[in-house]
Structure formats: structure tokens, C-alpha cells
Amino acid sequence: MATRKPAVDAVVCGFGLTGALVAEALTAQGLRVVALERGSMLRTATDFSPAIQMDELRFQQRHGLMVQPEQSTQTFRHEASGEALPMRDIGAWQIGTGVGGSAAHWAGQAFRLMPDEFRLRSHMIDRYGADIFPDTMTSQDYAVGYDELEPYYDRFEKLMGISGQAGNLRGTIIPGGNPLEGWRSEHYPNPPLARMKSTELFDKTAGSLGLHPYPCAAAHASRPYTNPLGVRMGRCTYCGFCSGYGCGNYSKSSPQTTIIPVVMQRDEFELRSRSVVTRVLIDSAGKHATGVEYVDVSGKTFMQPAEMVFVCSFTLANSHLLLVSGIGSPYDPATGQGVVGRNYAFQLWGAANIVMAGPGYDPWIGAGGLGQIIDDYDCDNFDHRAVPGQAFVGGGYIGLFQYGNQPIGSSSPGVGKDAVWGSALKKQMTNYQNTLQVQSMGGNQSYRDCYLSLDPTYKDPYGRPLLRVTYDFKDNDRRMSRFLVDQCQRIGEAMGGRLLNRVDRGGSFDTTQFQTTHNSGGAVASATPDKGVVNKFGQTWSTPNVFVYGASQFPQTPGRNPTITVGATTLLGLDGVVKTYIKSPGAMVPA
């Protein structure tokens, strides 16, 4: 029997980035908020100290900040007729757990999407005709447009202390920035990070090829910074421990370094960590949530009544919680009906690794967002029919990052029969200081038969079905990946490098090889209830007091990293909640 807790105005399921934004916005209005977080409390001073975090084996190789499969995993199959098997080890993606979630261990590449991306389907049809979309491709326009989202991008960048160079300030092109970007109302709050020899080389080479290089916007403070909430960040030290690690220097933008210190001091707020929300509770009519059920670390079950429920987990867990709670109609690929789990997409990361003639790149120095980028092969900045017979929808940024390469990850012998060992491996390891990587963050379109559902066989520790991912790469996206990596290779060779190897996604999806953590969709934000789970405010069409935030709102995966758009869409949604919903609860967009 569940123990009933005192009722609150809002309960937040998951205390990562979107959960912290919800808690801040609602407690600022005087609402009482309880956040329930599966993992532990993680603080910069005590958990992210450099003497703890700067340990590649524990954090990057053994996934010290990630959720372990025994707690939460998915089953996977490549096609809807196949039998799914559980992902027993961490592999293709790495999902954080604990306060801060994946926004504590992210690399910090802080991209906005480009205006065309928000009307991808309409734009591509206007430009190329409907034939460019295969029948099975279900990619669609976003529920919001760039102009509507711009003020929230701006707010979020200031909240997070993003370091970057504006390229288009209210229509004026600024030298040194990205001339292809959407308009910005204001400059970034901090100037770009330092450049290094590697990124200067990419910049010079791409420029000489007629491309448009610019510094990646980075979620690392390039100087001491105080955000609009009064939280202070320290200057990045380029220690090179970003992706997979918590930042001990208060430099990387995370919920810990930007929002949580303020929220934790508010009387209206309570955090309960190590508390797993097992389902959202719905009234008998099925139109109204009454709260959530959760299990704490001792195994006791509680019921937390609330007027509003905010589902703020990672992309995959958002769909899972909706499905196990019976919120919204589950998607059925046979009929195309239903919405929960629809338009799941991943990302097609690719790269050309090149060996330079000599060392000189100090690869141990870096930051997750320290890079030079081109957008010439994303959105509609290039002809998608450039290669005859190989037209595709999609694209992605191409860039060179100086992340800070750690010794184990840089010494991989390869896999299987081709793995190198013996003196040959030691010799290969010595390329550490002269290997550079030109990478592409290829987007991924959505397809009728790529979706999320509940697994009929495998269960989680709470007896719930695991989430089942049905997914594979498709020819359109494989063509895109090959095209992007061709460009990576061309630039890398023009830099004076010799091709070591290519990573493109020509084959089938491999759950064992880490690619990116950028999962999208499943609880898509849509203009109409037949094309998604939530409206542009993140409010579910089916159950108006349940809200869902995160990249689960994306209708397909863009050709860049999601976090800044996750933040901006959450702020837009919360603006609507504060201005409209809490004064007059009900559907905010007519169905």
C-alpha cells in the first residue's frame, strides 16, 4: 500500500536540465514543487572535484555518471517483425543519472537549430518537390518556428553562460561568426573559447575551400560569469575532462552550475533523490492526472498527489513513463495511428580520422565545445541533389573539436579480427599527438517503422516492461552519412593529413558501439493531436495537466546537438504555463 504524501502544486519526474527549469519557473511563482530523481544528489564541490572526476577509467570508460542497465535499459530490434533483446551493457548511447542528468556529463556543444530545420518538411517540399521524401519517412515540421523560439534561445544562452560568436545580429552579418545562422537578438553572453593550432588549421583550410567556418558555441564559461539568477561560473581551464565527466571548476554549464543552487534555497521546493517514479496516476475518466507513484531507496512505495505532473526524464524514459502510465495512445506502425513512441530517431555521427605529418596539437588540452564548425552541409545550405541519383533529406554540421583526448580512449586497438596488438599496437598508440578528427553530426529522419513501445518479455526492477526500441539506419540517412564523411575526408586531406580511417554509417545500427546520446522523438510536440503527444507548450493533448519536456519533443533528429533547443523549447512551454495555465488550467491549444 502506497504511503500518501501531502499534495503539492507540481511534481517533477527527473531532476536534470528540464526538471530544474520547471522547478525554477514554478517556484518563482510561489508554487510548491517536489522533484523526484532516480539517482543521487550530485554537487560540484563534493562530487565533481577534479581529484575525483579527472579519472578516465572510472568515468569515461566505466560510465561513472551513467545509469546502469540493471536499473534502466531498453530492448532493441532492427525491424518490427524481429524479436527484441535487452541492451545488457551500456553501448550506443550513455544516459546520465543523478541530479543534473545528462546535462551534468554532456560535452557542452551549444548549438541553436537553423530556421529551416523547424519547417523541414515544408521547406524541402517547396524546394525539391515531395518526391524527395520516401513514402515511409514521417519527418515533419516542428510545432514552433525559429522566430517564435528566438527569445527563449536568448534567455537560455544567458542562463547557461554560453560562449560564442554571433554571426547574424538582427540581420547584420558579423565577421568571425556563422553567416548561415538564424538571426540573433543579442550577442552570446560570453566571447568564444580560445582557439588552438588544430582548430586554426581547420578554420584556415575550410575558409580556403570556400566554406564558412566559425567557433562552436560552447557551454563552458570563457570568462568569469554571473547568470541572470545570480549564479556564478568560473573561467574554463581547458582541462579536457568534459564529456562523460562533471565539471569541478563551475565552468561547464549544467543544472548544478546555473539553476540548482538557487532552486534548492527556495522554501517552495523539495528534492527527493533516489526516488524512482514508477507511473503517473490518472483519474477514472483518463483525462486528468492526480499525481505520481514512486519508490524510494528503501523500496517503499509512495503516492505524491499534485495538480500538475511534469515528465522531465531523458528522451527514452519520457516515452516509457507515458506508455506504462497509459497517457496518450500508443503508436502502431501497422496503421500509423497513435502517437506515443512515434517518430523515434537517433543520429548518424561520422568522422574522418587523419594523421598529420608531425605532432604539435597537444591533444590533452581542450574542452567539449572547443571547435571550429561549418554549416555549409546542414539544412538547405547545399544542394541535396548534388550527387546524381543520391539525393537525400537531412545534413549536419562538420567540425574539428579539441576535446581533450584521454589516453585509454586514444589507444583503441580496434575490434575483432582486425584489432591490432603487439609492437604494431604500441606504434599505433604513438600517433596520439598527431591524429586529428574531422567529424560530422549527421541528423536522422523519422520513419514509419522506427518507434518506441513496451517490450512484451523483459521487465525492469519495478516489474514494468522495458522500453523497446525498433530502429535501423535507412538508405536516405546512409547516403547522407556517406556524403558528410566525404566532406570530412576532403577537408582533412586539404589540411595536409593522411586518411587513417572513416566512420560512416553504411551498415546496420550497432547497439554496442558508442555513437552519440542524441535520441529524439517518441513524445513529439505537434501542431495537431494526430501528429504528436504534446502541443508546443509541452502539454499533453490527452491529459492537459501532464507536461513532457526534452528532445522527446523533436519530430526528427537535427544535424547538431540538441541541448540548447531542449532548453529553449522548455522555457517557451513554461512561459505558457506561467502566463496561461496556472491562471486558467485546461488545454492551452485547441485540439
Binding site: 581529484a51 579527472m54 579519472d55 578516465e56 577509467l57 570508460q61 546502469q68 542497465p69 540493471e70 536499473q71 535499459t73 532493441f76 532492427h78 524479436e83 533483446l85 535487452p86 541492451m87 545488457r88 551493457d89 580560445a194 588552438m196 593550432k197 573561467r235 581551464t237 581547458y238 582541462c239 579536457g240 571548476n249 608531425g358 605532432p359 604539435g360 596539437y361 597537444d362 590533452w364 588540452i365 589516453p407 585509454i408 586514444s410 589507444s411 583503441s412 586497438p413 575490434v415 575483432g416 579480427k417 584489432a419 596488438w421 603487439g422 609492437s423 599496437l425 604500441k426 606504434k427 598508440m429 604513438t430 596520439y432 599527438q433 518479455t457 523483459y458 550497432d510 547497439t511 554496442t512
Partner: protein, 218 residues
């Protein structure tokens, strides 16, 4: 504000608690039997040999690193999803076996330590050991308790990790692995070196817990 209670508490702590972690002293293996330790040492000696590029995996104490790892949560496979039913699938769906890494080592060493010629792998000459390791990698020892390909891949992965991980884990002794590739160690602030452009650094090598003598043996 005075904190007499805190001062008392700190002085009352045993001295050990205030010391940085020390490199574990060499000792009898924690997980391996003597036979197993000999097998792994003989394999590591070929996977990462001493050669003209410098010391190899044995000098870096990689076998001790593997032994310590197998004795702990990594060896036990803590955190994996192990619920049934157990079924085989394509390699792209990942390892479906629930056998722990520690058990894989124990089972495979028992099944594989005697070479076809009847000699013990650990006593064989380098050429014979290379040939056997190559045959493992190429899939010539599968079935009947033998998982040669998987065991080879595991040994190789663990050897590289032990060669390159922070020395507090027991391998990379004397920073042998990091010296090979020119990794200068773990430093909190590289900002003064952003324009170093590959010039030699006049800095001592340091790990997560400090310079080389921070990992010295008691």
C-alpha cells in the same frame, strides 16, 4: 567562529585517512591463481611487448591491474542487465551472456592454457605465444567451454586499459603507458599552454593523485 569540535575530530582521525591513496603493494594475486596469473602475464607480454619503443605491459604491471579489476565490481559484472530469458542474437544487439568477466577469464584460461603441442602457454616461447594468440583472435578456438575470440578481445581491451589508466588502479606503473604516447598527465589548468603547439613541457608527469612518487610503494 571557532570550531573546537572539528579540530578535535580531525586530530583524532588516524593518519592514514589523511594520506592520498597509495599504489597497492605487490602481493599475491587477489583473484587469479598462480597458474592464471602466469597465463595472463605471458599473454600481456605479447599483446604489449617490451620493444624498441620502450617497456611493455608486464613492466607496467598490467597483469596486476587485471587481477585487481577482476576481483571487484567490474570483474563481477555489477550493473549489467542480467534478467532472463537468455537468448542469442546478432552481435549488433550486444553480449547476451550473463557470464561475468571474472568467470570468462577463469573458464577460458582453464580451457586454453595448454597449447595443442602439450606445452603450457605460460612457458612457451614468444613466437609460439604469438601464434596461439593470433589463432584465438581468428576464431580457431570456439565451442566446448572455449570462447577464444571473446576472451582475446577481453584480454586486449583490459591490457590497453591497464597500460593507460591512472596508476592508482595498479597498472601504468611508472607512467610507462603515458610516457609512450607523450601524455603529460592529469592537470587542472591547461590555460597557460593553449599556444604551446607541441613544444616539450617542463612539467612533472602527474596522475589523478599526484606525481609518480605519490604512487610509490609503502
Amino acid at each position: 567562529m571557532s570550531l573546537p569540535g572539528l579540530a578535535v575530530a580531525l586530530t583524532a582521525l588516524p593518519a592514514l585517512a589523511l594520506q592520498p591513496p597509495r599504489r597497492p603493494a605487490p602481493s599475491e594475486p587477489v583473484f587469479f591463481t598462480a597458474l592464471e596469473r602466469a597465463f595472463v602475464t605471458a599473454a600481456v607480454d605479447r599483446l604489449l611487448p617490451a620493444d624498441e619503443l620502450g617497456p611493455g605491459g608486464v613492466a607496467a604491471e598490467v597483469p596486476r591491474y587485471i587481477d585487481l579489476q577482476l576481483a571487484g565490481p567490474w570483474g563481477r559484472g555489477d550493473g549489467r542487465y542480467v534478467a532472463g530469458p537468455m537468448k542469442d542474437g546478432p552481435p549488433t544487439l550486444g553480449d547476451q551472456a550473463i557470464m561475468s568477466r571474472a568467470t570468462l577469464y577463469r573458464m577460458c584460461i582453464a580451457a586454453l592454457r595448454t597449447l595443442p603441442a602439450g606445452r603450457d602457454f605460460a612457458d612457451a616461447d614468444p613466437t609460439a605465444r604469438d601464434a596461439f594468440l593470433r589463432s584465438l583472435q581468428q576464431g580457431e578456438h570456439e565451442g566446448n567451454q572455449m570462447q577464444g575470440k571473446k576472451f582475446f578481445a577481453t584480454l586486449l581491451e583490459d591490457s590497453v586499459s591497464g597500460f593507460m589508466a591512472d596508476p592508482s588502479y595498479g597498472g601504468n606503473a611508472g607512467f610507462v603507458g603515458w610516457k609512450l604516447i607523450g601524455y603529460p598527465g592529469v592537470r587542472y589548468d591547461w590555460a597557460p599552454y593553449l599556444k604551446n603547439d607541441g613544444r616539450a613541457l617542463d612539467l612533472p608527469l602527474v596522475g589523478t593523485f599526484g606525481p609518480a612518487d605519490g604512487y610509490g610503494l609503502e
